[in-house]
C-alpha cells in the first residue's frame, strides 16, 4: 500500500469500484456507450461470452499487439539468418553438395530460408502470447471482484459493469447515478482486498 486510498467503505476497507448488473447483452452494450460518453476510463464490462462490437461501445483503442509481434518477428528473421550465416560462413565452414556457403550475393541463401522463416514465426508467436498476457496484466492470482458471489454469475447468465475507483473522474455518488441511469440494477461496492 503506497498512497492512502481515495475512497474507503464503511468497514474502512479501500474501495475498488462500484458494480452494476444488467440482464441482457443489449442492455450492457448501451450502458457501456453511456459510460464511454461520460468520459470514464478505468472500468470494464464482464459478460459470459464475447459481445460483438463491445470494444467500440466501450471506446477501447486498437491493441498495440501487432506492432510488438511485428518487431519480434523481424528480430527473429534477422537472428535466424545471422545464426545460419555465421555458422556456415564463419564458424564451421563445410562444403555440402558443392554448394556455396550461403550469402545473398554469392548464392546459397536458399538453404537459410526455412530456418529464417521458422525463427521469425517462433519469436512472433512468443511475442503474441507474452505480449497479450502482459497487455492484459496477466497472470494475476486474485481480483477484488472474485470476492463477490454474484460476480461468479457473469460466467453464466449475468452481465456486469464495474467502474473502478482509480478513475480520475471517480465520485461515488455520480458513478451510482450514472450506472442507475444507464439501466444498471443491484449496485454494489467492491472492496479492494
Amino acid at each position: 500500500m503506497n498512497a492512502p486510498a481515495r475512497f474507503v467503505t464503511e468497514k474502512g476497507q479501500p474501495l475498488y469500484g462500484i458494480t452494476a448488473e444488467f440482464a441482457t447483452p443489449a442492455a450492457v452494450y448501451h450502458a457501456a456507450e453511456t459510460i464511454r460518453d461520460a468520459g470514464y476510463r478505468a472500468w470494464d464490462v464482464y459478460a459470459p461470452f464475447p459481445i460483438h462490437g463491445i470494444d467500440e461501445a466501450m471506446g477501447i483503442k486498437r491493441t498495440k499487439l501487432p506492432l510488438i509481434v511485428g518487431a519480434a518477428a523481424a528480430v527473429g528473421v534477422l537472428l535466424g539468418y545471422l545464426l545460419q550465416w555465421w555458422g556456415s560462413n564463419v564458424g564451421y565452414q563445410t562444403v555440402v553438395q558443392g554448394k556455396p556457403f550461403g550469402s545473398v550475393t554469392e548464392g546459397g541463401w536458399e538453404s537459410f530460408v526455412p530456418i529464417t522463416f521458422e525463427v521469425g514465426v517462433l519469436l512472433g508467436s512468443f511475442a503474441t502470447l507474452i505480449g497479450m498476457l502482459a497487455l492484459n496484466g496477466l497472470p494475476r492470482h486474485h481480483h477484488p471482484l472474485m470476492k463477490k458471489d454474484r460476480f461468479l454469475r457473469t460466467s453464466d447468465d449475468l452481465f456486469m459493469i464495474c467502474i473502478e475507483s482509480k478513475d480520475e473522474k471517480f465520485d461515488p455518488d455520480r458513478v451510482k447515478e450514472l450506472l442507475k441511469s444507464a439501466g444498471g440494477t443491484n449496485l454494489d461496492l467492491v472492496e479492494d482486498k
Binding site: 462490437g53 470494444d55 501487432p66 511485428g70 536458399e110 538453404s111 530460408v113
Partner: protein
C-alpha cells in the same frame, strides 16, 4: 412499405427483393448501372485488344525477323493471364457457396462476372494452341514438331504429351470450366429472377463436385499450357503454382472492379470498407501463398540438384533473366507483403486500386517468366533480336488482356451488381470485421 423500386430500374426480380424493403442501400440506382454505361471504354478496349492480338499474330507472316514461336509466346502470356483471372474467380464463387459465406454475398456477383468470361481465356488459349499445332516445331510447344526417338525424355512422356491427347484435354477443360462458370452464373441469375433460397442451395450442391473437377483440370491445364512448353522439366507442384497465381490475380481484378464501382457512386453501403478489408486480406494471403509455392518449388529443385530439373531454373537465373526473377521475388512478394500487411491499406479502396493494378502486372510478369525464356534456347542476348522483341511482347500481352477487360466491363454493366435475393444478403450488408 412503399414500393419505390421497379423491375425496370433494378433488373428482373428487383421489385420483389426482400432486401430492397429492409435496407435503403439496396435501392435500384445504387446496385445497378444504366444500360450502356462504360460503353466507350469497353468498346475501345475491345478494339485495342482485337487489334493488338491480330497484329501480334500477323507480324510473323510479314517479317522474317518476327518468329512464330515468339509471337505465339507473347500472345500466350496475355491469354493465360486473362484465363487465370476467370479461373481464380470461379474458384472463389465455389468456395463462397461451399462454406456458406455470408460476408461475400455483395462481392460475389463480380466474381461470377469474371468467372463467366472463362470462355474468353479459353478461346485465346485455343488460338495459341491451334497456331502451334499448325506450325509444329516453329510453334510454342516445340515437342509438337518432334519425332519419336529424337529426345529420350519426350519419348518417355509421349503417352501424355502428344497432340491428339493434348487437344482432347483442352476440350475437357473447356467443357468443365464452361459448365461450372455457367452453372454458377445460372443459379445466381435464377435467384435474382425467382427469389427464395433454392438457387443458392443448388449452387452449393454443384460446388462440391465442381471443386474436385476444378482442382484436377486447373492442375493439368497448368502442366499442359505452361509447364510442357519446356517438356523436359519436372515439377509436381506446378499445378498448385498455377492455381496460386490464378486465385491471386482474380482477387486483384475483382477488388479493382468494386473499387471503381464505388468511385462511380454505386454500391454505397453495400460493399463497404469492411468488404475491402476482407478482399485485401485475401490479396495478402494469396500473395504469401504464391511466394510459398513459388519458392518451395524452386527450393526443392535447388536442393536436390538433379540436372533435368535444374535446367529450367538455371535458364532463368542467367543471361539477364535473373533480373526478371529478382523482380518477381521483390515485386510479387516482398513489396506487396510489406504494403498489404498494414490494416490501413486494406481499408483504403483507392490504395487497393493501385495495388490491384500492380498485382495484375506482376501476374503478367509471372506468366511471362514461365513462357518467354523458353522461346530462345540461349540467353536474352539471343532472345532480343534487334528491336523486334519489345513490340511483339507488348502487343502480344496487351491484346488478350485489353480484350478481356473490355468484355468484362460490358459484363459488369449487364446485370444487377449484387445477387438480389440471396438468403445471406442481410449478413453481408451488416458485415463487420471485429479485429
Amino acid at each position: 412499405m412503399t414500393q419505390v423500386a421497379s423491375d425496370a430500374a433494378g433488373g428482373p426480380g428487383f421489385a420483389r427483393s426482400p432486401w430492397a424493403a429492409r435496407f435503403p442501400a439496396m435501392r435500384a440506382e445504387n446496385i445497378s448501372l444504366p444500360a450502356g454505361a462504360g460503353g466507350a471504354l469497353s468498346g475501345g478496349l475491345v478494339l485495342v485488344g482485337l487489334g493488338a492480338s491480330v497484329a501480334t499474330l500477323v507480324m510473323p507472316m510479314i517479317g522474317e525477323a518476327f518468329k512464330w514461336k515468339h509471337a505465339i509466346a507473347s500472345f500466350h502470356v496475355g491469354a493465360i493471364t486473362a484465363l487465370t483471372m476467370s479461373l481464380g474467380a470461379l474458384f472463389f464463387c465455389m468456395v463462397f457457396h461451399l462454406v456458406n459465406a455470408g460476408w461475400s454475398v455483395t462481392v460475389r456477383r463480380q466474381f461470377e462476372n469474371v468467372a463467366s468470361l472463362v470462355w474468353v481465356g479459353l478461346a485465346l488459349v485455343t488460338v495459341s494452341v491451334m497456331l502451334s499445332v499448325w506450325k509444329g516445331g516453329e510453334g510454342l510447344w516445340s515437342w509438337m514438331g518432334m519425332e519419336r526417338g529424337e529426345n529420350y525424355l519426350l519419348d518417355k512422356k509421349s503417352a501424355y504429351l502428344n497432340t491428339p491427347f493434348f487437344l482432347l484435354r483442352l476440350a475437357i477443360y473447356a467443357v468443365v470450366w464452361l459448365m461450372l462458370a455457367g452453372l454458377m452464373n445460372f443459379f445466381s441469375r435464377k435467384g435474382d429472377a425467382e427469389g427464395g433460397t433454392e438457387a443458392a442451395a443448388r449452387a452449393r450442391l454443384v460446388s462440391a463436385p465442381g471443386m474436385l473437377a476444378f482442382a484436377l483440370t486447373v492442375a493439368f491445364a497448368g502442366f499442359d499450357w505452361l509447364k510442357s512448353i519446356d517438356f523436359g522439366f519436372f515439377s509436381t507442384m506446378w499445378g498448385v503454382y498455377f492455381f496460386a497465381g490464378s486465385a491471386f490475380v482474380s482477387v486483384a481484378t475483382v477488388t479493382m472492379i468494386l473499387a471503381f464501382l464505388r468511385r462511380s457512386g454505386r454500391l454505397e453501403g453495400v460493399v463497404t470498407v469492411e468488404h475491402f478489408h476482407d478482399l485485401g486480406k485475401l490479396m495478402f494471403a494469396f500473395c504469401v501463398f504464391w511466394a510459398y509455392i513459388a519458392f518451395f518449388q524452386y527450393f526443392l529443385i535447388w536442393y536436390a540438384n538433379i540436372p533435368e530439373e535444374t535446367a529450367y531454373y538455371i535458364h532463368r537465373k542467367q543471361g539477364g533473366w535473373e533480373n526478371l526473377t529478382t523482380l518477381l521475388m521483390i515485386g510479387h512478394f516482398v513489396v506487396p507483403f510489406l504494403i498489404l500487411i498494414q490494416r490501413g491499406v486494406k481499408r483504403n479502396p483507392t490504395l487497393l486500386i493501385a495495388m490491384a493494378f500492380w498485382l495484375i502486372f506482376m501476374q503478367v510478369m509471372d506468366i511471362f517468366w514461365m513462357v518467354r525464356p523458353a522461346v530462345y534456347a540461349g540467353a536474352p542476348a539471343d532472345a532480343v533480336p534487334g528491336a523486334t522483341a519489345l513490340p511483339l511482347d507488348v502487343l502480344g500481352i496487351l491484346g488478350p488482356v485489353a480484350l478481356f477487360f473490355g468484355l468484362l466491363i460490358r459484363k459488369v454493366v449487364s446485370s444487377p451488381l449484387v445477387p438480389l435475393h440471396d438468403p445471406r444478403m442481410g449478413e453481408a450488408l451488416t458485415h463487420k470485421n471485429y479485429v
